[in-house]
Symmetry: C2
Subunit: 287 residues, 2 copies
Amino acid sequence: MSRIVYVNGRYLPYGEAAVHVEDRGYQFSDGVYEVFAIHNARMVYEDPHLDRLERSLGELRMAPPMPRTALKVVLRETIRRNRSQHGLLYLQVTRGVAPRNHAFPEATESSLVVMAQHTPPYDMETVNRGLAVITIPDIRWKRPDIKSLSLLPNVLGKQQAVEAGAFEAWQVDDGGMVTEGTHSNAWIVSEGGELITRDAGKAILDGIIRRALLDMARSEGIRFKERAFSVEEAMAAKEAFLTSSSSFIKPVIRIDGRDIGGGKTGPLTQKLIGLYAEHLETLGPLS
Amino acid sequence: MSRIVYVNGRYLPYGEAAVHVEDRGYQFSDGVYEVFAIHNARMVYEDPHLDRLERSLGELRMAPPMPRTALKVVLRETIRRNRSQHGLLYLQVTRGVAPRNHAFPEATESSLVVMAQHTPPYDMETVNRGLAVITIPDIRWKRPDIKSLSLLPNVLGKQQAVEAGAFEAWQVDDGGMVTEGTHSNAWIVSEGGELITRDAGKAILDGIIRRALLDMARSEGIRFKERAFSVEEAMAAKEAFLTSSSSFIKPVIRIDGRDIGGGKTGPLTQKLIGLYAEHLETLGPLS
C-alpha cells in the first residue's frame, strides 16, 4: 500500500517521510499526539481531539504547529491523498529540532507529522466476540493525562498482554485500583448494573470515546459513576469493556484468565456498541 | 560547525541526518541511549558505557544494532570524522521502523544513530565556581534505571531548574528522599564527613561517573555510603555535588536558594574533582 505522509509542510511518499535525528520527539519523547478514527472518509470527533491536543500542548508549553483551521486542512488533505475510507489518522507534534539539551530550546518551530493507517471498517461481529485483558502494575510517569510520546511503559505493557494471549493490559496503581489500559480506557458494569470508569484526574488519559460514551449514557438514562475500581471489583463485575478511538468499544470477557459475565458480551455493552454504531452513521460529510 | 552523523549504516552531513517518522523512537520513545565524554579525542569509560547500553537493551528486549566490536568502530569513526577533541558522543538505539502498534514488531532491525557534540575542555575554574539546584517531585516512570528515551519528565524538570536560575533539578520521591537530577546523580557530604549518594536500585540510573567516583573513594580510603538521603539532610550537608558524563563533577553550593557548605565548593568535592582530572590524563590513546 502506497501512502502519503504529511511532514512539516510537505506531503511525502511513505518511504521518504523522515524527520531530523535531533527532533526532540526522537531524543526526548518531547511531543504529543492524537489518533482520529476515520469512518466513511470522515474524522470521528474531530474537534474534541483537537481540543485535547491543545490541552496537551498547553500542559507542555509547546507551540501549536499552526492554527486549528490550517491544521484541519492538513488533516483533510491527508485523508484525501490517501483515499482513506476506514482507519486511523495519526497526528504528532513535537517541540522541533534543536541541538540536544534537556531544557526547552530558545526558538524552534514545532514539528508536525500526519499519517493515515487503513483498517477494516467497524465490524459488529468481530466486536461482539469479546477480548481478554491482563492486569499489570501501572509504572508510568505521573502525568498520563497528557497524551505524550513517553509511551515506553505502554509498549512494554501491551507486549506483555500480547504474550499472554490478551488484547490489552489494564494498569493497576499502588492502591490496587485500575487506572486504564495501555492504549484504551477501562470500564465495568457493577453488580448493581451501574456503568463505572475511572474519573478523569491525573491518573488516566481522558479518552474521547470515553467522554462520548458518558454523554450517551447521560442522554439514555444509563446510571454511571466516574470512580476508581479495584481488580477484585472488576473480577466480580457483570460486564467489562474497553474504549479508544482505534478500538471503539470492545467487550472484555476475560480478566487474568477469569471469565467476566460468564465469558460473554453483556447486554449493556451490546447496547453501547449499538449506540456508538448509530452515532457513526450520523456523521456529517467531510467538509 | 559542520558535523557528520552516523545513521543506520551511513555517515551523513548533519542537515541530512534523518530517520523515518515511524521509527519507534519517534512514536513511542521505544529506545535507549548513552552519552560518552570525549577527552583529547578519546572516549571516557567506553566499556562501562557499552556494558550499560547492553543492560538497557536487555531490559527492553531490544536487539543490539551490531556487535560491540563493530559498534566501537562506528564510535571511533564518528569521533574521527568530526575531529572531536573535547565534547560528547551521543549514541541512540531504537526498536527500528514498523507500522504504528504498541506491541513489539515481528521483525525489525534496531536503528542506530551516533553523533558528536563539541564542548570546551574540562575547565577547573568554571567547575570550581559551583552551581545551584532546585528540588522537584520525581514524576518519572518506575524504571529510570533503564537509560531510555522516555525523557519528557526530565525535560520538564530541567526547564523548571533553568527558569529558577539553577543548573539542575534534584528529583524527590514520595517519601521525601532525593533520587537524582534530571540528567545527573546527586551527592552530599554528611556532617560526619561521609560521602553519600543514592543506592543504585530501580529508583535511579546507575551513572558511569557515579560508579567511577565510588571506586576512587574506595581506593582513596574515603568513607562513603550508598543510601537515600532526604532534602532536609541535603540542606544540612557540609558539601554537595552532582555527577554525569557531560557534567563530570560539579559542586552544588545552593539548594532551593539555601547555601550549602557556606556557598563554597567543599574540600572533599575539590579533592574528587582533582582525582577525576588526574584520571582523564591517564586515558590510553584512541585505538
